[in-house]
Symmetry: D3
Subunit: 294 residues, 6 copies
Amino acid sequence: MSYPASYAPLADAEYYTVEWLAPGVLGVAMNRPPLNTFNRANWLEMHRVFKHIPTDGEIRAVILYSKGRAFTAGLDLKETALSDAVNDSIDAARAGLTIRAIIDEFQAAISAIEECQRPVIGVSHGYSIGLAIDILSAVDIRYTARDVTFSIREAAIGLAADIGTLQRFPKIVGNDSLARELVYTARYFDAEEALRIGFVSRILETPAEALSAYFTSSDRANLDAAIETAKIIAANSPIAVTGSKTALVYSRDHSVAEGLHYMQLLNAAALQTEDMAAAVMATLQRTKPTFSKL
Amino acid sequence: MSYPASYAPLADAEYYTVEWLAPGVLGVAMNRPPLNTFNRANWLEMHRVFKHIPTDGEIRAVILYSKGRAFTAGLDLKETALSDAVNDSIDAARAGLTIRAIIDEFQAAISAIEECQRPVIGVSHGYSIGLAIDILSAVDIRYTARDVTFSIREAAIGLAADIGTLQRFPKIVGNDSLARELVYTARYFDAEEALRIGFVSRILETPAEALSAYFTSSDRANLDAAIETAKIIAANSPIAVTGSKTALVYSRDHSVAEGLHYMQLLNAAALQTEDMAAAVMATLQRTKPTFSKL
Amino acid sequence: MSYPASYAPLADAEYYTVEWLAPGVLGVAMNRPPLNTFNRANWLEMHRVFKHIPTDGEIRAVILYSKGRAFTAGLDLKETALSDAVNDSIDAARAGLTIRAIIDEFQAAISAIEECQRPVIGVSHGYSIGLAIDILSAVDIRYTARDVTFSIREAAIGLAADIGTLQRFPKIVGNDSLARELVYTARYFDAEEALRIGFVSRILETPAEALSAYFTSSDRANLDAAIETAKIIAANSPIAVTGSKTALVYSRDHSVAEGLHYMQLLNAAALQTEDMAAAVMATLQRTKPTFSKL
Amino acid sequence: MSYPASYAPLADAEYYTVEWLAPGVLGVAMNRPPLNTFNRANWLEMHRVFKHIPTDGEIRAVILYSKGRAFTAGLDLKETALSDAVNDSIDAARAGLTIRAIIDEFQAAISAIEECQRPVIGVSHGYSIGLAIDILSAVDIRYTARDVTFSIREAAIGLAADIGTLQRFPKIVGNDSLARELVYTARYFDAEEALRIGFVSRILETPAEALSAYFTSSDRANLDAAIETAKIIAANSPIAVTGSKTALVYSRDHSVAEGLHYMQLLNAAALQTEDMAAAVMATLQRTKPTFSKL
Amino acid sequence: MSYPASYAPLADAEYYTVEWLAPGVLGVAMNRPPLNTFNRANWLEMHRVFKHIPTDGEIRAVILYSKGRAFTAGLDLKETALSDAVNDSIDAARAGLTIRAIIDEFQAAISAIEECQRPVIGVSHGYSIGLAIDILSAVDIRYTARDVTFSIREAAIGLAADIGTLQRFPKIVGNDSLARELVYTARYFDAEEALRIGFVSRILETPAEALSAYFTSSDRANLDAAIETAKIIAANSPIAVTGSKTALVYSRDHSVAEGLHYMQLLNAAALQTEDMAAAVMATLQRTKPTFSKL
Amino acid sequence: MSYPASYAPLADAEYYTVEWLAPGVLGVAMNRPPLNTFNRANWLEMHRVFKHIPTDGEIRAVILYSKGRAFTAGLDLKETALSDAVNDSIDAARAGLTIRAIIDEFQAAISAIEECQRPVIGVSHGYSIGLAIDILSAVDIRYTARDVTFSIREAAIGLAADIGTLQRFPKIVGNDSLARELVYTARYFDAEEALRIGFVSRILETPAEALSAYFTSSDRANLDAAIETAKIIAANSPIAVTGSKTALVYSRDHSVAEGLHYMQLLNAAALQTEDMAAAVMATLQRTKPTFSKL
C-alpha cells in the first residue's frame, strides 16, 4: 500500500476525508469548504468518525487536520438548532430542555475524540476560531502551522464556550492567568503565544504563499512532522499506547490515589499481553519489536 | 461621567477605595497605610466589597490593586484573633473550634473574589507577601509592576498558608517543582520568575522613582494596561463573560465530564439571551454590538 | 557532627545509602550498581525507608539521588514477579488478582515518598528511564544534572506506565501536549526540555568527565544546590513545612473548596504551636528563629 | 383514544411491546418468549426504546413489565459475545479490551432507563433473576406481583453482577447486611423479603392460577396499581416531574452541597415555566390544573 | 432558671420564638400564624437564627418545632421574589441569574440547620407540606406528632423541590422506591408511612382535640419525648457531640476512606480535651461526668 | 479434615483464635479475656490477621466473632497511646501530629476487614460497645445473638467515634434519624432495634444461661446460622465473590457511573475465568459446579 491510501469504512463521509497517511496512521481531514464551519450534520459526522476508530484494531494513531483556508471558523451561522429550540417552545423551561439535548449531542461529538482510545495529533492552520479551540483541546498532541489565528470567540458573541474549551483548555496549559484573559477578552492569539502558554507543543513552518489559494493542498506539507510522530507511536505496543491514553484521561479527572488504583485494574488484564515478551525478546536480540494489532 | 468616578454603594468602606475606572470597570484599591496589612476589620470589609459586586449589573470587570508602597505585607501583627482563641479556651479541642471559625471567616473573604461572578484583574506592586499570594491566587488575571517582591511567607513564621495559596497557587502555575520550592523555602521571588512560572501573565513598566514616596499615586500608572484589558472585557456580552467565569471555576474543581454536563445546565438558561442576536446583527452590519447590563 | 554523617536507623539498608547531609537534611541515595534497577527487594526497601522518615522528628528535609552512572534505568529485567503471576495462575482472572497485588505493593513504595510528610528534593543524573519518572514525579522538588537522559519508556515495552507517571506527571508540568507526546512516543528528552516543560526547576552543572567512571562520587557535587535549598527548608518551622506538604498533596487531588475546608481542620491543631511565637519574637528582635523538632 | 393503544414510533420493536396504557402513560413490555432472556439484539433494542422516550414530550410516565412467565430469567445462554471475545483474541489483554466494549454497550442499555427523563415504574413477576435485578435497580419505582422469585444470580455462575446491580441495589435498599448476603449467596428471595428490605414498595395480588398458563395476559392485571400511580404522575407538571428525576439521580451520586448547587442551575430555566402559573390559578379556582406536554 | 426561659440573643426574631426548654436545650419555634408559611423575611430570619447557634457554647441541643396548626404549609403564595425575577428581566438568561441568586439565599437558610454544629431534633405536626420536608430533611432527628400530614408537594405545582428535599430525603430513608413515588406523585403520607420508610424515628401521641383550636399550646406537649432525648445529648461531652455531627455530615457526602482521613484531622485537636479525663474519672468514681460548655 | 480445625499460618496470634469452621470458612475469634478490649497490640494483631487473609486462596468466607462474655467492650482503659501523645509533646500542634498517626494505625486495622477481599460475617453477642460498632460496621453481613447490648459509646466519653462508625454506620442502616439519635445520645440498643434499623439482618437464638459462665463455648452455638451462610458463599465462584466485594465497596463510595465503569475494568480480567465454563457445564448436567481456589 502506498500512502496516502483511502480508508474504505469512512469513505462515505460527506465533510471528512479519511485516509491512511502511513501504516497505522489514519488522517482525518475536516473538509467542508470554504471554512470548515459546523452545522449539525457536520458534528454528527465527526461523532460517527471517532466512534468508529476504536473498533478498528489496525488504527494506532490519528492525525486531525483540515483541508482549505481554515482549521475551522466555528459554528455555521446558518445552523439554527438552538434558535429553533427557543422559538418553538412553549416557555423558557421547555426551551431549556431542548437546548440541553442539543448541547449534549454536540459535546458528545467532540468528546468522542477523547474517548477514541487512540492518540490524536491535531494540526491547526489559518482561522482556528471558537469551536477550533474546543476540538483542539480534546486531542492529545497539538502542533500548529505558523500561519494560525486562534481565538476563544464566545465571549464576543454572547455564548459561553460550551463544547469543551472551558473544561479542558485551562487544564492543558500552564498559565491560568493568560488562559482566562483569552477567554474573557476573546482576543486573537498567534502560534508563538500558543507555544509559550503550552497550548501547542510545536510550530510547523510552511511557505505562507502556499496557503493563499482556495482549497490548497499545502496543509499536507504541514503534516510531515505530525506523521513522523505518529509513526513512532504506531510502532509502539498498541496495548501500552491505548492503555496510556485511557489512564491519562482518567487521571486528569481523578485524584492520584484513584488514578493509581485504576491503573491496577487496567493492568490486571493489560499486562497479560504478548507485547511485553516481544519487547524483551527484541531488546535481547537488539532488533525492533513488532507488535500485533489490537 | 469622567473617570475615575466615585462608586457610591461602597463609598463608606474604611480600608478600600472603590471607583469606576472606565465604563463598567470597577477599581477596588486596598488602602490601609502604610502596608495594607490585614486585621479582622479589613478582611470583613473585603468580604463585603466582593459580596456586593455580583448584585450590581453595571459592573462588568474589576481591577484589584493597592494604594501605597505595598500590595500587602500580609497579616497585621497586632491582629490577635487567633492567639486570643488559644489563650481564652479551656483546652486545645475548644481552641481548635474557635480557630476553625476564624479561618472560615477569613477564607470566605478571599473566596468572595472567586465567587463575585465578574472577572477580576489583580495588579501587584511592592511588597506582595504572604496574604498577597492568597489574594492574587483568587483573582482571574494577574499583572504585576516590575518593582514587586513576592513571597509565600508562611513556612518561615510557623503557619501553613491557609487562606488559599496552597489550594490555588499550584493549579494556576505550570511548574509544580518550583511552586513547592517557593512554599517550603519561603524565599522571595521577583516579577521575572513569576512570569516564567506563569503566576503573572504580564509585567508592567513603571518608573521606579515614582514609587519611592509614601502613598504614591503612581500605582495608577500601573493600571493602564489592566484598564485596557478590562475595557475589552466590559464590551463583551456580560452573560457570556459571567457564565465563563462560573464555568471556569467549576471546571477547575471537577472532571471534564462533570464540567460539560454543568455547561449544559448553565446554557439552558444562558443561551436564551438577546446578546446572541445582538452579536449576530452586529456581525452582519459590520458594527460593534452593544450588550445590555446584567 | 560533621557532614555527611551516617544515619543509624537505616544503616542496614541493602540498596540505599542513608546519611545526614546537613543538620536536619537526610540524604537517601539509591545504590544498587551498576544502574540502580529495581527488583522486588529494592522497592520493598524503598518503602521501608520512606515509611520510617515521618517517625523521626529530627528529619526536616530529604534529598533523593543515586550513586553510580544512572539515577535508575528502571525495572530489573531479572525481576519475574509479574510473569510468574501469569504463568502460575489457573486462568487470566486469577492471574489478574495477583498482578493487582504486585502493582499495589510497588505503587505503595513510590507513594511512600509522597506520604512521608517531609519535603523531598530529587536530583537526577545519567539514565533516568521508566521508573525514574515514576519516582521523580512523586518527589516535591526536581533538580537535574545536565548529563541526564529521561524517557517514559513504557509504551515501547508493552507496559502502560503504572507506578505513578501517568497519574502525576501531567499534573506537575505545564504543557499537556508535550507530556502526552513523551508518553506515547517513549522518546528520550534531555535536561533543557525537562526544564522548559516544567518537569525540573533547575539544571545543575557538573563536569561531564567526573561522571565517566563507574560508581563516581561526583553525584554528590550535584547535590550542592539541593543541599542549600534543603537547609533553608530545614531552618523553617517544621510544623508549617509538614503542614504545607500535607495540604499541597490534598489540594492537588481535591476542589479548592474542599482544600480550604481541610486547611481549617489541619490548622485547628497546627496553629497551636510555639513556632509562631518563636517567629514573632525573632522578628521583633531581628534575629533568626529557632524551631524545635517535630 | 381507548387504552391500551398502540405506540407507532416503536411498533417495529422485535422484543418489546410498547403501548399507551393511559393518557401520557407508556407501557413497555419485554416480550421474548419464553423467559425474556437477553441476547445482544435484545439489549440493543432496550437501549433504542429508552433513548427514544425523552424525545417524545407526550410521554409522562413509563411502566416496564414483561409478557409471559418471567420478568426475565437473565442472560440468554446462547449469547456468545463474551466467550467469542476471549476465544478470538491474541492474548488476554486484547480480549480484555473487547470485553470492556461489550459490557459498556450492555450497561448503556440499562442506564438508558435511568437517563430517560421520565419516571419508570417496574412491575416484576415470576422469575426475576440476574439481569432482572440490574434492570429493576435502574427504574424509579418497584412494584411486584406476589408470585415473584428474585435472585442476584451471578456469584453462583462465576460472574460478578456487572450491569448495575452492585452499583445501584445497595443504594436503594435500607439493609446493607442483607443486601450483601443476597449478593454473596446468590440465594432466592421472595416478595415479602423484597418489601422488608425496601427493594419493592408494594406487593400486587394476582390470582396465582392466572399465571400458570404460557404467555398469560394476566400480567396486565398486575398493572392496575402501577397504572393508577402513573396516571397521578402524568397529571402533574411535566417540567417538575422530569426535573425531579434529573435531580434525584444527580443527588444520589453527589454531595448535598453539589446537589443543591445543581438545583440552582436546573431551576434557573425550569422555574421559567407556565406550569407554575397554571397551578396557582387552579388552586385559586379550586380546579385541577392542566399542564402542557414537554 | 425555670424552663421554658426566654433566650435573649434572639428575642427580637419576628417569626421565631426561641427559648431554653431545659439546660443546654434550645427550643426554636416557627411562629408565623396561621400556617407558618415562608416569605423571604422568614427564611432570612431562619438563616440568622441557625447562624447564631454555633456561636453560643451554652447551646448543646436544639429542638425545632412550630406554633399553631401546621408545622409549615410551605411557601407563602404572596411571596413574589421568583416571579418578579422573571417579569423584571430583559431576557430568560438574565432572569436565570436572578433566580439562582434567590434559590441560593433560600437554600443557605435551610442548610444553616445542617451547619449549626449542634444536634437538631425536628418535631412536626399538622400540615407539613413542601418546604416542611426540605426543613425536616436538614435536621438530625425527626419525631412527629400522630396528627401530621406530609407531602412533597412540588411536582403538583410545577416546581422541582429545590431547597433540599431531593438532595437529602432519599439519603435519610431506606426505601428509594417509595421515596421516588412520593416525589413524583406529590401524594400525602401520614405518620405511620413516614415511620415505616424511616423518615421519622418516633411517633408522639397527643390528644387530637388539643390541636383543634387555633394557635394551640398543645404542640409543647408533643415536645416531651424530644426534650428527654435532647437532655441526654446535652449531658454528653459537647466536644464529642459537635465533632460527631461534623463528621456525620461530612461522611454522608464522602467516601469512607475520605471520612476516615477527615476524622484523623478532626480528632488531632478534638482529642486534646479535658472531657475525656472527666469521663474516665467519673467512670472510676461511678458518678456522672460534668462537661464544660464549648 | 474435621472441623473446627486449626489454621497454622495464624496460630501464633496472641489475642485471636483462628480456625477452619468448614471447608473454605475461616473463623476469626477475638480472644482477650475478660471483655476483648483493645490495646495497641490487639489492634495491630487484628491488622495482621486480616492482611493475611487475601494472600490465601483457600479462604472463601470469614466469620468474625468473640470468645467470652462480650463481643468487645471497646478500648482498654489501660491503653495510653493517645494520652501519652498529648503529655509528651512540646505543643498541641506536635501532639496533633502524633494523634493522627495513632488513629491512622488504628483505622487501618479496622479497614483491613473491608479490604480483605473475602466476605466477612460478623456475629456479635453480649457487650458490643464502642469499638464493637466500628468493627461490625466494617464487616459485610451482621448476625447477632439475642443477648446483645449495643452502644455507640463515644459521645458519653468525650470522643467522637473515629475508627469507622460515623463513616460506615449511617450508610448501612435505613433510618438516618435513629442512627443519629444513637450517636448523639450514646444510649444502649438491643437486637430488636438493631434488626429494625437494618444494622443486623438476623437474630440468632441461644440459651441465655449458656452465656453466664466465664469463657463459654456457647458463642459457637451462635455460629451455626453464620456457618450455613458462609458455606453457601464458599461454594460459589471465588472469582465472582471476591469481585463482588471489591465492587460493592467501590460502588458505595462512588457514583453509579463511576461504579459501572469500574466494573468494566474489573471484569476485563475477571470474566476470563474457567468458573463460568464450570457453572454452565454444571447447569447443563444438572450438577453442582466445583470452583478452584483463588
